[in-house]
Structures are given as C-alpha cells and as structure tokens.
C-alpha cells in the first residue's frame, strides 16, 4: 500500500476516535423533571431565576455556597444549591444554565457550576432621555 494511503487510514481511525469520545464526553440538556428521574446523573438545566423566592449567600459562613430558586424552560420550579460563590450581577441574569445533579427526595438541584447570560448587549435597554 502506498504510504499516503496508510496515513489516510490512520487519520480516519483517529477521526472516528474523536467522534466517539466526543459523544461520550457530553452532558445532556434536560429540565428539572428529567433530572429528577435520574438523580445520580449530571445534567445541564436551562432556566430563569425565580425573582420572588429568596436567595441565600453568607460568604462568612461558606464563601462557596449559594442557594436560590430557578424555573426551568418548562415552568417547573426547583431549589438550587450552588457550590460556588454567588456570581457577580446574579440579579441581572436573563438566563441561567446550571450544571449539576438533582438530589432526591429533597428535590434540590445540587449545582457544581453555573453559566449566566446577562442582558445581551444587543437586546437590553431602551432609549432614554439623558439627565
């Protein structure tokens, strides 16, 4: 076989490996309901902060513990315990993505990480008169 062909076969093998490990190294987007059905598994849950419910952050006790309530994209609400500091500007977040596992039977989502989408620079703010 020509050397070039050998190389090409190796490329294809590696590429298949890349695809395979990619599919195995992904988490899944889910809502609270789905996460509750598989309490040990990690999911990404997208939603919005529940403005009416309380947020608790006491950094002097534990700087890496923050709890709040979130409503997922299906309208289901759940208490979230985030094992990280309260993100700066949490109150302004438009959308939140949580990474974590649902804890049953308490029905609390234990999040190890959070991604926030703050008001998009393209969407927010209406023209206002300057003072």
């Amino acid at each position: 076989m020509k050397k070039v062909h050998i190389i090409i076969i190796i490329i294809i093998a590696v590429a298949i490996g890349a695809i395979f490990t990619t599919l195995n190294n992904t988490s899944t987007y889910a809502d609270f309901g789905e996460a509750a059905k598989e309490p040990g598994n990690e999911f990404h849950v997208v939603g919005k902060r529940d403005k009416d419910k309380e947020m608790v952050y006491n950094p002097k006790v534990d700087a890496n513990l923050f709890s709040f309530y979130m409503t997922d994209n299906n309208g289901v609400e759940c208490k979230v315990v985030l094992h990280k500091n309260k993100p700066q500007d949490f109150e302004h977040s438009e959308q939140i993505v949580l990474i974590g596992k649902m804890k049953m039977p308490e029905k609390e989502f234990q999040a190890s990480d959070i991604l926030m989408k703050c008001p998009s620079k393209y969407n927010d703010g209406k023209p206002q008169a300057s003072k």
Binding site: A15, S27, N85, Q88
Partner: protein, 803 residues
Amino acid sequence: MNYINEHLGIGKAGNLFVILSFVFALVASISYFLASRDNEEAASWKRIARISFRIHGLSVAGIVGTLFVMLYSHYFEYEYVWHHSSKDMPMRYILSCFWEGQEGSFLLWTFWHVVIGLILQRTAKTFEAPVMATISLVQAFLASMLLGIFVFEHRIGSNPFTVLLRNQPDFANIPLFQNPHYLDKLDGRGLNPLLQNYWMTIHPPTLFLGFALTVVPFAYAIAGLWKKQYNEWIKPALPWAFLGVAILGIGILMGGAWAYEALSFGGFWAWDPVENASLVPWLTLVGTAHLMIINKNNGQSLLAAFFLAVLTFVLILYSTFLTRSGILGESSVHAFTDLGMSGQLLIYLFFFLILGVYLIIKNWKYFPRQSQEEGIWSREFWMFVGAVVLLVSSFQIMFYTSMPVWNKLFDLHKAPAKDVIAFYNNWQLPFAFITTLLIAVGQYLKYKHTGLVEFLKKIAISFILSFALTIWVIYMLNFDKQYYSILLFSSIFAAISNANYMVMVLKGKIKKAGASVAHVGFALVMLGVLLSTSKKDVISRNTSTKSVSALGEKFSDDDNILLTKGDTLPMGKYMVTYTGKCAEGINIKFDVDYFLRDASGNLKKEFTLSPLVQTNPRMGNVAEPDTRHFPTFDVYTHVTYADLEKIKEEKNENKDEYDVEKIKSLKRGDTIFSSNAIIIFDSISTNVDRQKNKIEENDIAIVAHLRAIAVSKKYDATPIYVIHSNMVLPIPFELEPLGLLFTFRKINPSNGEIEISLQEKKSNTKDFIVMQAMIFPYINILWIGAIIMALGTFLAIVERIRK
C-alpha cells in the same frame, strides 16, 4: 411627525456607498472573470475590472468614513450609533464602537480585503485576473451583508445607515419618540464596559486581517485550478500564506492575552467555541503553508495543498457562521445574537465550499504526478504527516465545538462536559507532542532521502541536551504529571534543535533563519502553555485551619477565599490583608496587600493588588483581575463576590452595639443564617435551671436549643421564654464568640413553632470580599515565545519575497 435636528442626509450618503460597494464588487468580479479568458477582449475587460475594484474600494472607504462621522458626532438617531456609543465615552474608544456591532465587524473585514486586493492588483501579474475575480466575488458576498434590503420578504444583510432608532420595532411605542425634540435629550447605550480598553482597539483589526489573509491562498488555489496552472500559483501565494499565519496567530494570542489581563475566568485559553473557531483555521493554514513549501521544492502533496487551502477559507466562513448566528447561545461565554443573517452566511459558506471541491475534483486527474513515491526518510513525507496531524487536531476541536450545530441538525440535546478544558487538553496533547517532535527533526531531514547515520549525528547533540534539560525541569519543578512530560520533552527538544540548526547549519545567517526562529518561538509557546497551565496553583483554595467540608455536606472546599477587612490570612506563600475599597469612576477597586516573612520572621509588604469591579447599571457589573508580573511567575487575582453598597464607611458607629432584630419563625430542624454562622433549631424543653436564671416557681419557662455552626466551631445557644404574671419576659442568650444575641419571643404550642429574634453585633458585618488568586508559573515563556514566533515568521516572509 416632523422631528427636529435629525441628520438624515448622512444616512442616505452612507447607504449610497453601501450600494455602490456591492454593485462594483459584483461588476469587478464579472469583469475579472471575463478578463481571465484567453481572448482579445480580455485586456479591455481587465481595465474595466481594475477600475471597478478601485471604485468598490473607494465606496468601502466612504462607508467607513460616514460611519466614523456619525459615531464621532453622536448621531443617536441611528440605531447603530445609539447601540454602541454614548456621549461620555472617551474618543479613544471610538474605534471599538466602530466594530463592536456585527455590521461594523463585517465592514472591518471588507476593508482589509480591499487593502489586500489593491496590493494584489499590482503584484499578482499573470494571476491577477482569476485571483481578483475570486476576491471580488468574496467581496460581493461580504458587501451584501451590509445591504439591509428586502427581497421576497427576506432581509439581506443589515445596514447601519438605514435603521433609524425610532423605526426599530422594539422601540416603536416609547413616549420619547412622541416628542419631536427627542434628539436633544437622547444619549446612547454606550460601549460594553468589558470592551472599554485598548485590547478592543487592537485585537479585532489584527484578527480580522488574519481572517482576510486566508482568502489569498484560497483565491490563488482557485485560480490555479481554473487556469490549469497547477504548480505556478504556489510561489506567489506562499508569502501571503505565511503572512496569514503570522497575523492570525498574533491575533489569536492577543485574544488570549486580553482574556488573561481583563477577564476573570483565570487563564488565557478556555477552549471557548469562539476561540476554537479562530484557532482551527489557523492550524489548517499552517498545514497549507507547509504543504505549499513541499510542493514548491519537490512537486509533491499538490492535492493536499489545494484541499487545505480551500478548507482554511471555508473554515473561516464556518467560524463566522458559528459566532454570528447565535447558535452557540448557551455553550459560549461570548454573548451573541442572531441578526437574522445566518441563512446568508450558510449560503456563502456552501457556495465557496462547493466551488472549491468541484474545481479540485474536476482537475485532479490532470495534476502532474511524481514518478517516485516520497521516501519515508524524507522531509516531504514528514512535513506531510505534520500537516495531517494538524488537520486531525482541527477536526477534533471543530467536531466538539460544533455540538450546538449537531444538536440542531439531529434534534439532540447534548451539552458540553463539565470540564471541557481537560477534555480538549487530553485530546490535543498527543497532537501537540507529534507536532513539536516533527518541528524538532524536520529541518534536519533532507528532501527525497536522508542518510540515517548522518541524521542521527546531527540531531544527537540537541536530543541529549533536551533530554537532560527535561529531566532537570521535572526535578526542579516537581513536575508530576507523567502524561504531560512527553510534551515537556518535545517542546524543549523543538526549541533546542531549531536553535542548534541556526547555529550549526545556517552558521548564524539570520536571513535564512526565519523558519528556525519561528519554530523556536512556537516551541516556547507550547512550553509556556504547558508549564503555566499544568503547574497553575490556586493559592486561594480554602486553606483555613479545618476542612470546611467536614462540617457537613452543605459546605465545600473551593477556590474562593473570604477576606474580612483588616484581617490577615495565609494564601500560598503570602500573608494577605484586605485593606478596603474605593470608587474610581465607574470602577470599584479592592486593595489587597501581600506580605512575605523576611529573614527575621517579620512580615514585610511585597506588593498590593487591586482587582476591581466595573459597574454598569445597563450592562451588568464586571469583575476585572489585577495581576502582578514577576520574571518567573505571575500572581493573578480577581474578586468573585463583593458587597458593592456602602462604599463610604460610617466612622463613628459603635461597633460593639447590636444591630436591628431579625425575627424568624422556626419549626424543629429549620435553619437561619447570621452573617457568620448557620443556626439550627434543634428542640425545645422545659429543662431550665430556674435558680441560675432567677425564674420563679410559678412562671412558665421554656428553653429553645439552638446550634450555631461557624467556620471552625460549633456553639450552643439557649434563649429562654418566660411567662411571669401573664407577661412574656424572655431571657435572651448572648453568644459572645460570634457576636450574636438570641431572644425567644413566641411559641405556638399547637404545632411547636417558635419565633426567635436574632441580632448581630455591628462589627459582624465588617466589610469583606470573596476572592480567587492563582499563581501561573513561567507564563512569560508563552508571551516571549509568541513574539519570537511572530518575528521568525516575518523574517521568513521577507526572505521569500526577496527571492
């Protein structure tokens, strides 16, 4: 309604320039196409084409100038100006506003193509017509992104000159626009605070120039296939390919430096989709350029060179699509929105992909074939392998990054893994290892065949030196990651071997040393990345006396440290004190002093770092790091949480007083929080020491058992509820160590619920910050390597142009 003082004329002028730019790009493209034919009229078509492209260039300059005037003069009646600038913005940021928006960045890209095209008009000689035809067509597509016209209810492009703020559908019914004098009072939204720095002025133009340069090898490749000049396109295109490598590489590294300096994610590369989308075309461009060298010297690898040249440009278009279509939405920290142009971008992408692939397939059988196959001990074989490795590396990155695209296409719901950085690093490590190894040995290999003994002799000294240095580094740095050690060796090997090549083989002739210098630079970049990332030390990791997580599942060890004002805490090898905060304009700076113990054991202040939070009520607050640079390491810090109220301290408050009562209703097992503890209501009982508390026989006395858990200790609190002569006279419990006062106010006998009031000493609510700090060892090797790589590449380009 007749609005006063609107400047509508300039918008019309800008729009005219946009239309002219599009029309003349199209005309230039058609004329150059006709000029590429081998007939008598070709010459006159070429003249028309040249003039058309120049008019197109002038129109682009017109668009740029008009937009500048509008931004400079604060014409907020235009949506683009309102969206990206404001009256109080310093003028030095006007460039940043220019390309902050999608339209502006398309314009920047178009502008660079004009510059490149004008140069090529003079230098491309026989290739001018087909190359310029391709570039003009690309320009026509790009110009169409600015048109903003409607065709069959589909909007083509987005035009900064035709969208008036008051016509924007979202703002249609705002009271402001009922006022004909609305312009007098209107101020713009302003530039995103994260973009108000010098990086926003230099990074986008560099990066976009890099993007623009990939069109040159592409256009030359198309021209070569079209005119059936399968080898001749390589020599003129080669310096352009390397210029792209240099500039795009610098642009990407600038992005990394910006992230490191101004963003609080803690590093310079996050494998973020937008970062990856720029890195991947760079990798394939490097592959393209090296394959072009092989072909120029040896005639081999022609198909691969064509393929990669087309692929690189298509990947640039794909990266544009990914970043601008909004499809990355949830998986990237770069916030993007869909301006509705994703369909257009896709058409654009597929058009050029199909064009390139079609031409390659059609012409493949006519490619000049080499009589012998490349020997396994030849430079061209191993450079080919290198290009292939770069291609596979790009594939892995692109495949994972495109997850949102696969989600959309196949209706999946895959999300990125929690630790993507580790995933990419693990995959890319072997590719980086092979690449640096090839860089180490590549120049010592000869074309066609290398004598093995000769080769080993030449490489031996570098190999031995590198091996020894690697062992030394592993020992000195306590480098315990075995998997990464191979990359440590190969990068050191690449650096030393290329330096050796410069000295021994080139005998110090700087002019010919471009490649060696660039390779040394790249090897140092890899080394710097490896050392600073794998030995990154998060010194703010919870290092308090007891492990916090031992207190229960509710607590966790993590990267943040809490600093109360005035207290001194250990962090890594330093002792740190948070001394206070102050406001500077829109920034709030938090001063933290760093101390080291000197020989006699005293604390000596080494330096102060002031990470800040930039407040912007419209866009959200943003934390910016402060980093101290030492020659062999950096101390990087940023604030993860701070109370931004109460900037001015109340000086005369009695800190020993108790603050206002917080009243809470509790059932058994409930928890309340003070600022420094968790308090759990365990139980109530009547087991009270009446004598000690001076409670009479006939009184009712109930004690509440509360448990207070603070960072390192647990306490019991026992406030007592007493009814004496029909009056409630509670006996409060003072928990001195935590500065808390508990009063048992009410009890509901039917359900066992109680009401407790909690008061904290004012000194409890002392100012504090939550901060992260990291040490990046040897990160300067990365930046130095980047500069060397750029210098080397430019050296090589200059040498090629001269030849």
